[in-house]
Subunit: 352 residues, 2 copies
Amino acid sequence: MSNSNGRSRVTIEDVARHAGVSTATVSRVLNKTNNVTPTTAKRVQQAVDELGYVLHTAARVLSNNKTGNIGMILPATSTPFLASLLEGVNECTIASGYNLLIYATTNQASIQGGVPLPLNEDNTDGLLIFANSVDDRTILHLHQRQFPMVLLYRTAPGNRTIPCVLLENKQGAYALIEHLIVNCGHRRIAFMAGPAENLDAYWREQGYRQALADHNIPFDPALVGEGAFHDWTAKQQIKQWVGQELEIDAIFAGDDTAAMAAIMALQEAGKRVPEDVAVVGFNNDTMASYINPPLTTVHAPTGEVARTAARQLFHLIRGEPTESKILFETELVVRRSCGCDLAAKPAPEANL
Amino acid sequence: MSNSNGRSRVTIEDVARHAGVSTATVSRVLNKTNNVTPTTAKRVQQAVDELGYVLHTAARVLSNNKTGNIGMILPATSTPFLASLLEGVNECTIASGYNLLIYATTNQASIQGGVPLPLNEDNTDGLLIFANSVDDRTILHLHQRQFPMVLLYRTAPGNRTIPCVLLENKQGAYALIEHLIVNCGHRRIAFMAGPAENLDAYWREQGYRQALADHNIPFDPALVGEGAFHDWTAKQQIKQWVGQELEIDAIFAGDDTAAMAAIMALQEAGKRVPEDVAVVGFNNDTMASYINPPLTTVHAPTGEVARTAARQLFHLIRGEPTESKILFETELVVRRSCGCDLAAKPAPEANL
DNA sequence: TTGTAGGCGTTATCAA
DNA sequence: TTGATAACGCCTACAA
């Protein structure tokens, strides 16, 4: 026990005593917040090292409300997509001299009856909130306390002005489906829906429906299944469709994770992709070009979304102005899984 | 502003006033720590809800040293392996009524000059430390303060008794290489080393060398490259080997992440796996059986490791006895990427 | 069963 | 440039 009071922790007071200065001075040295003679500073630093003093974060927060951390809340599923997202955020966080703390929820996280989110204003200076990983009430509560937050892939509840960064989903999905119809000649196109209440999922479905409608293909509820942006779920859905011997030309899996799982499940079931069934995804994850067949998908600038969101958060924390809504474009990426290179060239009469 | 003091936060004192009781009573209700009349309890709970009171975690920690969180520190690379690990930990954490906070380091994390790890005794009740994501000095410091910690895939520094959970790497790697030699007929077997100072990587290499030695295959330094348990690194290494036109029968990639990346890189370079080069991994990640060709590897019970480590940590936190070292067996899993089904049956003379 | 009051370790304000 | 001291919000003896 290297301190002098009865307790076990080395406090700022121990350091002060050891260095023959006041706690205020120690604090100033630690935080480089004020002018301190180099001599005293050195003495203090030495005392810190000798005693093995470590700042008590909670105490600082209590007096200060500064933690040097930002937090990110996301669902506890691990996909390449979320990995890219985290990578982007982490990169930006480090560059800003902050630390990134992550809390992965199984359901929607919320503040309840006085019990706070595990990541909150007491241990972070701001929060990045992914899609619907935190419920509206909690977001509202935090916002009302003016806690810095940036929303990813969702808009603010209750029409509040909380910065959010979003994807152009509908347009991307539309282009994708149109490609399937026009360039690949598919008509019976199935859709695997994303998680319920997921905004991206909703708009991708809208894009899908719109494209069908614009090309006079009737919407068939039997062709809508569940992918949930999740490999296991997607596989189950494929098994079900295969079991039903449903006639399907192509599958829009909702995202790349589901698409890759779908391809595997299809291949396991003895189907060829894209010869028997085409499969397309959304996101353009790193793996998308490596699998067999390479995946036709819609490019979403995930890393850019992440970095942008993080940057917005740091602006917010520093009290600088922010944009309340940032929308990222998406773009069709044609590879082999859609089967368009198998398709007959557009029939001549189409050009008449 | 819904409280009565000048500040912006609703405190326990506000709740107390609102409910017409003392702060102590409110605290007792919040923590279910003592007998409180149901009537008062109800009144307090109502006040909490009406005022939108949320516990100030930092304040509680300061007075209490209890957070309800555990932390996990790991490297900021996202692999299926780490994903499985996190999944196991998270599962166990939730079951125990705790929350899991994650800090992903880019290098080794450490306490320096009074600045604590972002995850520490002030915001967690215990820490799970992956391999060498935290430096020895810091671990020692925490341990000396008797902070609950469990080490994954590494042993305790300085011969301290910190619980750790480990893998039987050498034996697994040995079995794998022996299979390559004896059953697949490979002789020029390359090895992609894992991250420096990684214990798993070290022992896998020992298993590799031992197996070669026991089968009279001279160790060739030219056949040792870098995989780093990392896809990009593995791809680079493959490119280099392919460029050198090195003669290689088989590659032990160090882990499955590197093995899958290696297979992709090989295929991109026009090599057939396993016909031209066999590739094997280590871990038996979920994807291992899905890729093409299915991966021969060594099964490591990653989820079990994770759950065990988490359980140990909770024992530690509750002051219950723990085992200081838990070692998990590994087991060879033969699939197609090793090419043993292509190999001639063992030559008759081998059986003489 | 409930209330009072002291302490947890840090920072910030004010004075010196 | 430095020091004394009052917060910060909560918990827990101890007392009632």
